[in-house]
Symmetry: C2
Subunit: 442 residues, 2 copies
Amino acid sequence: MTVAVALCLFALTAHAQDADRLVANALTKPTAYETLSWLTDEIGPRPSGSANAALAVEWATQQYRSWGIDVRTEKVVVPHWVRGDERGSLVSHHDQKIVLTALGGSIATTPAGITADVIEVSSYDELKQLGTKVRGKIVYYNNAMDLDLVKAHRAFEAYSRAVIYRATGASRAAEYGAVAAVIRSVASASLRTPHTGAMRYDPKQPKIPAAAMTTEDADLVHRLLARGDRVRMHLVLTPKLLPDVESANVVAEIRGSEKPDEIVLIGGHLDSWDLGTGAIDDGSGVAMVMDAMRLIKESGLRPKRTIRAVLFMNEENGLNGGRAYFAAHRNEKHVAAIETDAGAAAPTGFTTTLKGDALDALIARTNVLDRLGAHKFESAGETGADTSFLIENGVAGFSLVPEPLRYFDYHHTPADTLDKVDAKELQQDTAAILALAWVVAN
Amino acid sequence: MTVAVALCLFALTAHAQDADRLVANALTKPTAYETLSWLTDEIGPRPSGSANAALAVEWATQQYRSWGIDVRTEKVVVPHWVRGDERGSLVSHHDQKIVLTALGGSIATTPAGITADVIEVSSYDELKQLGTKVRGKIVYYNNAMDLDLVKAHRAFEAYSRAVIYRATGASRAAEYGAVAAVIRSVASASLRTPHTGAMRYDPKQPKIPAAAMTTEDADLVHRLLARGDRVRMHLVLTPKLLPDVESANVVAEIRGSEKPDEIVLIGGHLDSWDLGTGAIDDGSGVAMVMDAMRLIKESGLRPKRTIRAVLFMNEENGLNGGRAYFAAHRNEKHVAAIETDAGAAAPTGFTTTLKGDALDALIARTNVLDRLGAHKFESAGETGADTSFLIENGVAGFSLVPEPLRYFDYHHTPADTLDKVDAKELQQDTAAILALAWVVAN
């Protein structure tokens, strides 16, 4: 054995021991949960542009400072969309109430609302076939999540398929003269629970209001139409798009001892939707990232490369935080970008843009994830929204994969609250992020 | 064997065969679900005094007539309480939204609402100890359903224990000078789902507004108070109590062939709360009772005793239907009163006021319930609200017991909708009601 090899093995062993120690420490106390609890209970919902989002920036910055971690805010200009009244009823059926919520970014109806016949489609093909028959009507996209996929632990795949109509359904319907679009909430469970989420307008089409009905209401409208009833809906949505607001990403870092210019990024997003308190989306990610940094700092260990924690602003309705970060830091050398924005259930592993030998080499060096049940790496084309700009430019991407079974029961709903998070599982997630970042940084 | 005994055995056998045939017929098609579907989808919520409640009376009457069944309406004067705005927020915590609903019968706050400190109690003993410390405050009753009891299939027991604070908490708090009362929703599951329900004022105390928070919001307020925070809540409730309305019970009957003056009553309630469409509470009971009558009529069989189906009005907030029925019919001979108001999950059996030999004799004659999994009889002091006036006067009472595990996930919430009902299970319930009524009537 040469001296060089011996030193190398020693270094590997030492780093493995450090990772073990960091993980062991991470699991001793529910500190991430305490952080999450403050964010969700004391601040609450924090949609982009809101006073609460500004409070969250200030609070996160102060927390890092109190832990002795270098931190700065970096300017992000964000949209400021504010929910208003939202009411639906079936005037054709004794004014029966329809529970719905405006999609993020939707324009308003008139204050008195609109009333129109509802026409149901389940695909863009069907919409195209109907063509101008939808003119003057409310187009209802009845696209359920595939619950078999959810049960097969592939909830994000089921989400991706259904969410298309939320994102682009309004403009597609407007193309044929529809006066509004309503979707079936993209949900894996419901107690008359509406799911909001971002939509975007095609600049070539007229803008029409867009909302999501609960699955119960979606089923009701479907049954009535299937029975041959004429269904007329009254819809009132009064959201407002206020002037853009100057907000910020919160960027903290622990400088590398040997290669400080090489960066391992860990990130989640600080903004949330407005209906719940954003505990799973993405308060949990914020708490994991912040607590991972605190744990490293507290350990006294220094990584070889810089570990940088980014709390992105405006993931939900614009990605302006991810875009601003990329614009400011694209010329720095990012070794990896590890994003966590998939809830706080027990960790199962990571998706990654790595493949083949590079992935195998990493897997061989991350046995520390075994004890967390988080050692499953799956290659994927995308590993997160905020870091997508880095990934598209060749940075190795990773995304934490907590067990996804119940994520879409709560996602983008009023029920996204602290009680949905298990403190122990959140701490395991934190340890998984910490362990992966540590290994990659060394 | 004497001729009399032989005839008697023949008669028993014939009736057993009839019961078997009725049950077999009942299970062939999901007809009760079709009835329920119309009631909940086409009419929807039907709180006492509402236009929809009047529509439901009219519709049920017409349905019976279309089946060739004798039917009449019997006058019931009911309260007409109408929900208004209902909003809560924590002004002490960045105006964080609290999801809540007014309890049925609550008075309003001023239109602008009230703002006061929240003080938490978990029992009337604790309230008493606090005494005048609650003056000027909002008293928060944090009394969770015992979920272990729910899991042990004793959900109604868990409900009974927790619901006390909903029923009488406002007046008890008012006695010590509270300005409002909020309870934790009486719930076995929640996706930020508020549970309403009746409350009543003690005429000796000042009336104060009363609402139910979702379990998520109840947990939030509890955590904040436990942390030592001062919690100030803004509460807006604008319900109105309008003048009483003349409504009706719907009474249908199939006259007995031998003892027409002896009555076997089967009943559910036609009114519902306003938040959902009252599918499980008690549209299902209505559908079972109506479909049982239709099935008997269609069979061409005549029971020896009269089977009378009563769709009671105003079970939820007054019991005026039950009271009016009793006042009008107390001098008739009721052999049994079979109530169904516990949801539409698969039947397990009945509670009954019968005991000892009388119960044993009935059990021996109801083997037809075996095939429905509904042959468990349990003695109980109470077997239903609408029929309680009859039971208190010595009539044998029965209450259908569907599996109760999920009942309080939906009860009194916006999520009490048709999709929570399984058509096959509802038909089994219908068959169970039909079979028991048939056996008792013969």
